[in-house]
């Protein structure tokens, strides 16, 4: 076989290579550093309360991260789905145009600003304190634009002929939504939820001063209790940990976090209907 190199293809490969290589190197380094630390015991046990950074074990942090991410997704989903359905039902109206603009504007707001807003609104004005519920609400706000756009895209993929055929049979709006739109887009909607959970797991700023504490928490007693998460655990260990083992535990925690996010992303990809884009 004769190998031929097209100059354009070579140029594109050279341009694309850093985009693949840099994340691959970062991921490889996390695996290298964290791999030496993580074990089943590291994942399944919680660190002792005393001596921050001295003992390993990230179970409570992993559970806290998942609680926050899943909780935020549960809070955001009805609002996002309702908005997407409203958008689809009032197709092409001027209101839709404004709504779309608002969603894109909200998506452009930096997560730290949501964190600050949540601190004032939920923690201070609503007196929820630094708590699991305050974190869920703030994270839900961060997820809302992304989830809404995903839901709108999922609903728009349903062929207009399907909607017309259902309407022509005399289906009411609610029957159309339940029996055609939600039924036909359910896999894409679930994919969107899983990607939203993955996104929530990677957010640190919004929960930094609304849901998490430096130390002293293993498991939240209620929705009004603070929580400890992998994201903030890594942050605190890197910033504040004065024990020699702290940085190793931070690498281990980072690897657990990356694996968790990758698992949700892979699950989303596996559920993705053929022909759809992630």
């Amino acid at each position: 076989m004769k190998w031929t190199i097209h100059p354009a293809k070579l140029l594109l490969t050279l341009v694309a290579l850093p985009a693949l290589l840099i994340p691959a190197l970062a991921l490889g380094y996390i695996v290298y550093q964290g791999g030496a630390v993580i074990s089943w015991q590291f994942i399944s046990t919680s660190a002792e309360l005393s001596g921050f950074g001295a003992s390993s074990g990230v179970f409570s942090q992993l559970a806290g991260s998942l609680l926050l991410a899943v909780g935020a997704c549960i809070v955001a989903t009805p609002v996002a789905l309702g908005t997407a359905l409203f958008y689809q039902l009032s197709n092409n109206s001027r209101l839709c145009h404004h709504l779309e603009l608002l969603i894109y504007l909200l998506q452009a707001v930096p997560p730290i600003v949501y964190g600050l807003f949540g601190l004032i609104l939920f923690v201070q004005i609503f007196s929820l304190g630094v708590s699991l519920i305050a974190g869920m609400l703030v994270l839900a706000m961060v997820l809302l634009p992304m989830l809404t756009l995903n839901n709108i895209t999922s609903l728009q993929r349903i062929a207009i002929e399907q909607t017309d055929a259902a309407r022509a049979l005399g289906l009411t709006e609610s029957a159309l939504v339940l029996r055609v739109w939600l039924r036909q887009s359910r896999r894409e909607l679930i994919t969107g939820q899983l990607l939203a959970i993955a996104r929530a797991l990677s957010e640190t700023a919004p929960i930094l001063f609304t849901a998490t504490v430096f130390s002293g928490v293993v498991w939240p007693d209620s929705l009004l209790s603070p929580v400890t998460t992998l994201q903030t655990h890594i942050f605190y260990l890197a910033q504040e940990g004065n024990h020699p083992q702290s940085i190793d535990v931070a690498w281990g925690s980072a690897l657990v976090l990356v694996i968790t996010i990758v698992l949700f992303s892979l699950l989303a990809r596996a559920l993705k209907p053929s022909g759809g884009n992630l």
């Binding site: 399907q162 017309d164 055929a165 022509a168 005399g170 289906l171 029996r179 055609v180 036909q184």
Partner: protein, 263 residues
């Protein structure tokens, strides 16, 4: 192309002693663009009325106005002497009386059986769903082919079978009027023949408004013909009169052009 000036005098609708559908002075504009101009026509209580005309004449738009999928029209449409705008129970109830079969077979991604009963509503109808489905499939000349695989995916059927499934689905809601938008346009001759046979049998019970680009089909099936051009009804007449002795110059031109096209 037929000039606008020649379309100015519109033939008055043929009055039938028993009229199922009556349309008076129907006008439709979309985004400022006039689509239908003062359409007036009537349909008898049974039989096939062929709606013919060149592409862009507004035939499909007219069908969508009749079942209120398109609502931005002015004028009056009555079904069995009742205004469709003030239909008891609203638009959805009206659509349960007007079946629509589109040009492209559109089956829902579920089983054959569920597709047929998709539009069935009401306690008694749901209780008799199986009998209704069987009757509708028989009327659509599909029962023999699917009776042993009713729970197979509808998508596994051929295109012609899918179109007959769409016809069965429209019939299962027991419509008082059936609108057909070029239902055989993309089908093979065998499927076309089966659908035409089914339509001929149905026409003895309910009125059918059949949009067709196929003049032979219109002549074969239609009892009366409505010729539309550029959003206007040019001529409405019984089939023999229209095809043998068209009254309007535009109709003659259209028929001549179509014959030349066939040659």
């Amino acid at each position: 192309m037929i000039s606008n000036s020649r379309l100015s005098n519109i033939t008055a609708p043929v009055q039938h002693p028993t009229t199922a559908l009556q349309i008076d002075q129907l006008k439709l504009s979309i985004q400022g663009q006039p689509i239908l101009h003062e359409i007036s026509l009537s349909l008898p209580t049974s039989g096939i009325t062929a709606l013919i005309g060149p592409s862009g004449a507004g035939k499909s738009s007219l069908l969508h106005c009749i079942n209120l999928l398109q609502q931005a029209w002015q004028g009056e449409i009555t079904l069995h002497q009742k205004s469709i705008r003030q239909w008891p129970g609203g638009d959805e109830k009206l659509r349960r009386h007007i079946g629509l079969v589109a040009q492209k077979p559109t089956v829902f991604p579920t089983t054959i059986y569920r597709n047929v009963v998709f539009g069935i509503d009401g306690f008694w109808q749901r209780r008799n769903a199986h009998a209704i489905a069987e009757q509708a499939l028989r009327q659509a000349a599909l029962w023999g082919e699917v009776k042993d695989r009713l729970h197979a995916p509808a998508a596994s059927l051929s295109l012609g079978q899918q179109q007959r499934l769409c016809l069965a689905r429209a019939l299962a809601i027991k419509p008082k009027l059936l609108l057909l938008d070029e239902p055989t346009a993309s089908l093979d001759p065998k499927s076309k023949q089966l659908i035409e046979q089914a339509l001929s049998q149905l026409a003895s019970h309910i009125p059918l408004l059949l949009v067709s680009h196929n003049l032979e089909q219109a002549q074969r099936l239609g009892e009366q013909v409505i010729f539309m051009c550029e959003g206007k009804v040019i001529e409405q007449a019984d089939c023999d009169t229209f095809f043998n002795h068209p009254q309007r110059v535009e109709s003659k031109e259209f028929l001549r052009w179509a014959v030349c096209e066939c040659d």
